[in-house]
């Protein structure tokens, strides 16, 4: 069956990377004093994993989406901050370039992203344009062979540390008036706010991206003028599968903590809530299979909008529920902010919000079923 486990060599490489590079820093990442996002991607690059979806010809691993979700889940099980850094870099940060980039753009950027030399970010959301992405106001005005970009993006994962931003900006009106641009962080007029003080995912930087008269060469427009919304939605279809994998990893990490605590307490003679463990395991297992199915659809070249929304909705609702149960089962120790269950509980919540809130996923799912 086509939702099979990814190939073994990569599986081993992923396991070794997580054991060597992620697990040792997980506690520091959760506190927010671990390595920077760029350093995480660099270390993934050293393990040959910063371009897991990028073809080998461009320095990537040439992997499938099945490989990708296995990677993200495995990282997230140890540390969700590192997982979201890598997920954004690999999916919404790199995939639009893979899917919509021309040869020139690919040759200029893919190697640097796949090697981990550069960190990629995805800039769609604005302060007044969250779930209603079409309401975005950042403008791109063409002047000869350049566009002048002005505006501000909000809640951008990697802001402040990323080297390349995929920016959605308005070249006209409505959904067909949006275009996508490859914007280098080093260009004049690009600035970022400080990382936000978030509830969780403390090791991942999230902040504002300000574009003040940034001159972007036409050669850095990704796809045709007016297809930016298509680029963004396509990126999110696949990106949501990555977030789903992150959620599965968080749920598994929370379950690991609950199982470990329950075994220890039971061996010490206490009664434990085995039913809660069973429900956590069942939901996590189902979320994993939904995620694999969605990834297999992407790999088969199928349209995945509906099934990616289902996977994201179910997996992220699951990771919040499972993490909450883990906090319950590990109480009172889990009241400490560095307890593995507490960390997962805080980290999990973001998954229901980013790359489309779960309310938006429900709109996507319902539209598919209920429209004629």
């Amino acid at each position: 069956m086509s939702t099979d486990i990814p190939h073994r060599e990569l599986t081993h490489r992923v396991a070794a990377f997580v054991a060597d590079a992620i697990t040792p820093i997980a506690a520091a990442m959760a506190r927010g004093d671990g390595p920077s996002p760029k350093r995480i991607v660099e270390s993934a690059g050293e393990a040959g994993l910063a371009g897991i979806l990028t073809p080998e010809a461009f320095g990537g691993a040439g992997g499938s989406h099945g490989d990708f979700i296995q990677f993200i889940e495995t990282v997230a099980r140890a540390d969700a901050s590192s997982a979201v850094i890598l997920d954004v870099h690999l999916s919404v940060g790199t995939e639009p370039l893979l899917v919509f980039g021309n040869d020139d753009q690919k040759s200029r950027y893919l190697r640097r992203l796949a090697s981990g030399e550069w960190l990629a970010a995805f800039a769609l959301t604005e302060a007044a344009g969250g779930s209603d992405a079409v309401a975005l106001r950042t403008r791109a005005v063409r002047e000869g062979e350049t566009y002048i970009l002005d505006g501000a993006k909000a809640f951008i994962t990697g802001a402040g540390d990323a080297d390349l931003y995929i920016v959605m900006a308005r070249t006209g009106d409505g959904a067909h008036g949006v275009s996508a641009f490859l914007v280098e962080a080093a260009w004049p007029g690009v600035s970022t706010g400080p990382p936000l003080a978030k509830m969780g995912l403390h090791g991942s930087w999230t902040g504002e991206l300000v574009l003040d008269g940034v001159r972007v060469p036409v050669a850095n427009r990704l796809g045709d003028e007016g297809v930016g919304f298509t680029v963004a939605m396509s990126a999110l279809d696949s990106g949501r599968v990555g977030i789903s994998a992150q959620a599965v990893g968080i749920a598994q990490g929370a379950l690991d903590a609950a199982v470990e605590t329950s075994r220890r307490r039971r061996d010490a003679g206490s009664e434990v809530d085995a039913d809660a463990i069973a429900d956590m395991e069942a939901r996590t297992a189902a979320a994993r299979q939904l995620t694999r199915y969605a990834a297999a659809l992407v790999d088969a070249g199928r349209r995945v909008t509906h099934d990616a929304a289902i996977a994201k909705l179910y997996s992220t609702d699951t990771c919040v529920a499972v993490a909450q149960s883990a906090v319950d089962l590990c109480a009172p120790e889990s009241g400490a902010e560095d307890h593995p269950a507490a960390v997962r509980f805080r980290d999990a919540k973001a998954c229901q919000i980013y790359e489309g809130t779960n309310q938006i996923q429900r709109v996507v799912i319902a539209r598919y079923l209920l429209s004629d």
């Binding site: 069956m1 939901r283 299979q289 939904l290 199928r302």
Partner: protein, 382 residues
């Protein structure tokens, strides 16, 4: 086409879907109201060779693939849970033979199950031993080349109509699990000392035959024992590992059937001047029903694939599939009734039947509570 299915599985699914829609769906309400066992559905399954699905080709079957069978069960359950159960129980009754039968037993008994010439049943539960089958009281005493069986079984699906019944009985009453052995009854309804009383008044799956079985010194040949003395409990548990994804598939089909109906209704039903599908309150309910049903399907197909792959993890994922799919069926059918409002509550519409049918999937072949015990034991140790 679902990428989790191969070409043959897709073809069989489509065939069964057509049969279910054209021949079974029109019968479903009447089967429920009359409470009479639908022999016409049995004939339909025979005619289309659907009883062959659970069995391997060497014994007259089609493929023996759990995934193929369970996709077929799902399709039938979308329109009629009672009819889906006929197929699922034919498989359930065949598994003890497939798992523990010797060559002679399999060659003699399986082809007539695969053709549907004989119907089968699986008799484990007792009035005093439901979730705790090792506490069963039914005895099998050996006398020379024969066993004499005495005791009672309850909640036996197809127990009042099946020809080939696997019955579990204690050959060593001083032991619990280790004292259980398995026996196949042939031509069961005509055995001296055997009596089946059909149980009426069920909440759902009302056309299904459910019986209490009484064994008053029923004599059977020792050649009809499956495996060795004392193997019975192990056989019973291995059977359940294989059959639970089938119940899960039934639950999945019930959920999908209710969801499909609710979606169609929401698009047609107008209130406040527009289709209720345009209200976000309905949209979000439908989206959650869809996501839960998709999750149940992911687990049912995965557990079935693990059976086909002969994975050692089957028991764990079979329990998860059953737990999730049964709970999903209950939730989704309840929400479907809610979307239809008053119309959902009456039997002119199918969703109240689906809600009643869903409940049993949380109970039989191990209650949801027992599934949780199985799942947690794998993680926490015994």
């Amino acid at each position: 086409m679902d990428i989790r299915l191969n070409d043959e599985q897709t073809m069989i699914r489509d065939t069964v879907r057509d049969i279910a829609r054209d021949r079974i769906a029109p019968r479903a309400a009447d089967i429920d109201r009359s409470g009479e066992f639908p022999w016409d559905v049995v004939d339909l399954f025979r005619k289309h060779d659907l009883f062959a699905l659970p069995f391997p080709p060497e014994y007259g079957g089609l493929s023996g693939s759990a995934l193929t069978l369970n996709v077929a069960i799902e399709e039938v359950a979308k329109v009629c849970a009672t009819s889906a159960l006929i197929l699922a129980v034919q498989a359930l009754g065949g598994y003890p033979l497939m798992i523990a039968g010797n060559e002679e037993q399999k060659a003699r008994l399986l082809p007539e199950l695969a053709s549907g010439a004989k119907l089968s049943a699986y008799a484990l539960s007792e009035p005093g031993a439901g979730s705790d089958p090792a506490g069963m009281q039914t005895r099998a005493e050996r006398h020379g080349d024969e066993y004499v069986i005495t005791g009672s079984k309850i909640w036996i699906t197809a127990g009042g109509i099946a020809d080939t019944i696997t019955v579990f009985a204690k050959t060593d009453p001083d032991e619990r699990a280790k004292g259980v052995s398995a026996f196949v009854l042939e031509d069961a309804q005509h055995l001296k000392g055997f009596a089946a009383n059909t149980i009426h008044g069920k909440l759902g799956i009302r056309g299904s035959n459910t019986a209490e079985l009484h064994f008053d010194e029923v004599v059977i040949s020792a050649a009809n024992r499956l495996g060795e003395e004392g193997d019975g409990f192990r056989i019973a548990m291995k059977v359940l590992d294989r059959s639970r994804p089938g119940v899960a598939a039934q639950a999945l089909g019930i959920a999908q059937g209710a969801l499909d109906y609710a979606v169609g209704y929401a698009k047609e039903r107008k209130q406040f001047g527009k289709a209720i599908a345009e209200f976000q309150g309905i949209q979000f309910m439908v989206a959650d029903m869809e996501a839960q049903t998709a999750a149940a399907r992911a687990m049912v197909y995965w557990a079935s694939q693990l059976i086909d792959d002969k994975s050692p993890e089957v028991g764990h994922f079979a329990a998860i599939a059953k737990l999730l799919a049964a709970d999903t069926a209950m939730k989704v059918t309840t929400d479907a009734v809610q979307i239809l409002g008053g119309y959902g509550y009456v039997n002119e519409y199918p969703v109240e039947r689906m809600m009643r049918d869903a409940k049993i999937t949380q109970i039989y072949e191990g209650t949801s509570q027992i599934q949780r015990v199985v799942i947690a034991r794998d993680l926490l140790g015994a």
